[in-house]
């Protein structure tokens, strides 16, 4: 195929690319990359986008590139500015793919002040010795601005897209949003602009699913800040510059981060179990029945929709989608060889893909003699940042009527918690395991 070779060849033409009046792309292309941050495949490679904005009194550089691509970045920068013109360096995100050339840039541009989010400041020491740039680092938040002479940059604090430090930078006079990793994608195409490159919709959605989806509450907050802007283009830190219909991409993020359920205040409780001989399955049914007793009344306090799933019946992925939308998650596993079983761990390890923080969680299961599964699942749920307000239920081999009753009240208690109707309790710490 001839086309990619031509594109590869032009990738090495080393000029900056004009994006808007006084605004240039000065990043680097990485067409051969096939996996990113361990967690993504990158069929089309990626780009590390950096930009320069020229004002009346100085030049701002926004983001840098991955170390190893620094030379191309500096070369492109040098085609449009002298180092002593640079008054401002903005780092929207300090991950090494954007901060690789930062210390060297600050060395070469002695007048430059570095602007990072407040959250980024304490993390910088993990990248370089901040003492070298003492007095040259400013933490900024939403509403803070930097004047470049006749035009200014404004910052939006948009944390956890996808690290605590991430922010966006806005150039109002041109309507340009430098969005960092947000609204980006791993898609390397030297034609650069979204109206010129190949079809990258797959890459855009795939990137969202792997980078942004675990933080969808933060995605929504950032969209709240961005949607009112009179956007003329989005300039992300990876992938094409989105100058044609930039709002389409904002709308796509809104759709991807939205919740399809949650109508009519209905809370959802999902119970997952796996069972070899049926003991844990029967416990699951008791948990579900108990939850139903709290769930039925469609009164002012709302209702709970209870669903029961056999983990053996599916790959983890559809369950992950379900759990993302659920308000509570109860998991049942027998203890086998001193542990919960692998399909349970496969499901639980897949939950880093979605935001489960603050959901309610609980565990139950049948066991033979040691019963490790339930506390191990509870630990994992806590470490996933779920709330685990009700102690799990273990039953030795075939559950007794008392143990079924305990499962029943576990389901009921979790449902009541969901409805905000759990009874206030007073307990002594010494009584807790």
């Amino acid at each position: 195929m001839a086309a990619p070779t031509t594109m590869r060849a032009t990738a090495d033409h080393a000029d900056a690319v004009a994006v808007a009046p006084g605004v240039h792309w000065i990043g680097a292309f990485d067409p051969d990359l096939r996996s990113f941050d361990i967690i993504l495949r990158t069929a089309n490679g990626t780009s590390y986008n950096a930009y320069a904005v020229r004002g009346g009194t100085g030049v701002a550089v926004i983001d840098t590139v991955k170390a190893g691509f620094s030379e191309r970045f500096f070369h492109r920068l040098e085609t449009i500015a002298d180092y002593d013109e640079i008054t401002t360096v903005v780092l929207n995100h300090l991950e090494p793919d954007h901060s690789g050339a930062l210390p060297e840039l600050l060395r070469r541009a002695p007048r430059a002040q570095l602007y990072v989010s407040h959250q980024a400041r304490p993390m910088l020491k993990g990248l370089f010795d901040p003492a070298e740039f003492a007095g040259r680092i400013t933490g900024v938040g939403s509403g803070d601005t930097v004047d470049l002479g006749g035009r200014r940059l404004e910052f939006f604090n948009t944390p956890y897209l996808h690290w605590p430090d991430t922010q966006c930078t806005w150039l109002e006079d041109e309507g340009l949003l430098f969005s960092g990793d947000f609204l980006g994608c791993h898609y390397c195409d030297t034609r650069l602009f979204n109206d010129a490159v190949g079809d990258f919709r797959f890459s855009f959605d795939y990137y969202y699913a792997h980078i942004m989806r675990p933080f969808r509450a933060h995605v929504r907050s950032a969209l709240d800040l961005i949607e009112p802007l009179l956007l003329r283009a989005i300039l992300p830190a990876h992938g094409p510059v989105l100058r044609e219909d930039p709002r389409d991409y904002v709308r796509r993020y809104r759709a991807l981060s939205g919740s399809g359920l949650h109508r009519n205040q209905v809370k959802t409780l999902a119970i997952f179990y796996i069972s070899a001989y049926g003991a844990t399955r029967r416990m699951a049914e008791a948990v579900a029945a108990g939850a139903e007793t709290a769930a039925g009344d469609n009164d002012a306090t709302g209702a709970v929709r209870v669903s029961l799933y056999d983990i053996e019946g599916s790959e983890p992925q559809p369950f992950v989608d379900l759990i993302e939308e659920a308000d509570a998650l109860i998991i049942g596993s027998p203890t086998i060889n001193g542990d919960a079983v692998k399909p349970v761990w496969d499901l639980l390890s897949s939950l880093t893909m979605v935001d489960v923080k603050g959901k309610l969680g609980a565990a139950f299961g049948s066991y033979g003699w040691s019963g490790e599964a339930v506390p191990m699942i509870e630990d994992r749920l806590r470490r996933l940042k779920l709330r685990v307000p009700v102690q799990g239920i273990k039953a030795q081999l075939s559950p007794t009527p008392e143990e079924f009753a305990a499962c029943h009240s576990l389901g009921r208690d979790i449902a009541l918690h969901l409805l905000g109707r759990a009874e206030a309790r007073v307990i002594d710490m010494a009584s807790l395991a």
Binding site: P122, G358, R387, V390, V426
Partner: protein
């Protein structure tokens, strides 16, 4: 040993605890919604609103103060992995 009472508003549970306990230890045990990352007062994941009784927690260290400031924490918010319970009663709510 002096005792204190901590109420976790999100799950409606009040716990009697010995003085000197850190908020995160109690929260973890009762399954309240305070989440944590580093447990060393650096990441601010455990930021918690002290609804009442903030004077019943040991004053924040210089490090905690700095982290709270860096993260623009509102008034009466503390790091649960750092805040030590002194006595009396305290009501908290995860952020």
């Amino acid at each position: 040993m002096p005792k204190a009472q901590v109420t976790f508003q999100d799950i409606g549970v009040t716990v009697t605890v010995p003085a000197g306990t850190r908020l995160i230890e109690v929260s973890e045990k009762v399954g309240a919604g305070i989440t944590y990352g580093c447990r060393e007062g650096e990441c601010c994941t455990c930021l918690t609103k002290i609804v009442s009784g903030h004077e019943n927690l040991a004053a924040p260290s210089v490090l905690e103060d700095q982290v709270l400031k860096d993260n623009l924490a509102p008034r009466h918010h503390r790091l649960a992995c750092q805040a030590q319970i002194l006595g009396g009663s305290i009501v908290v709510k995860p952020t």
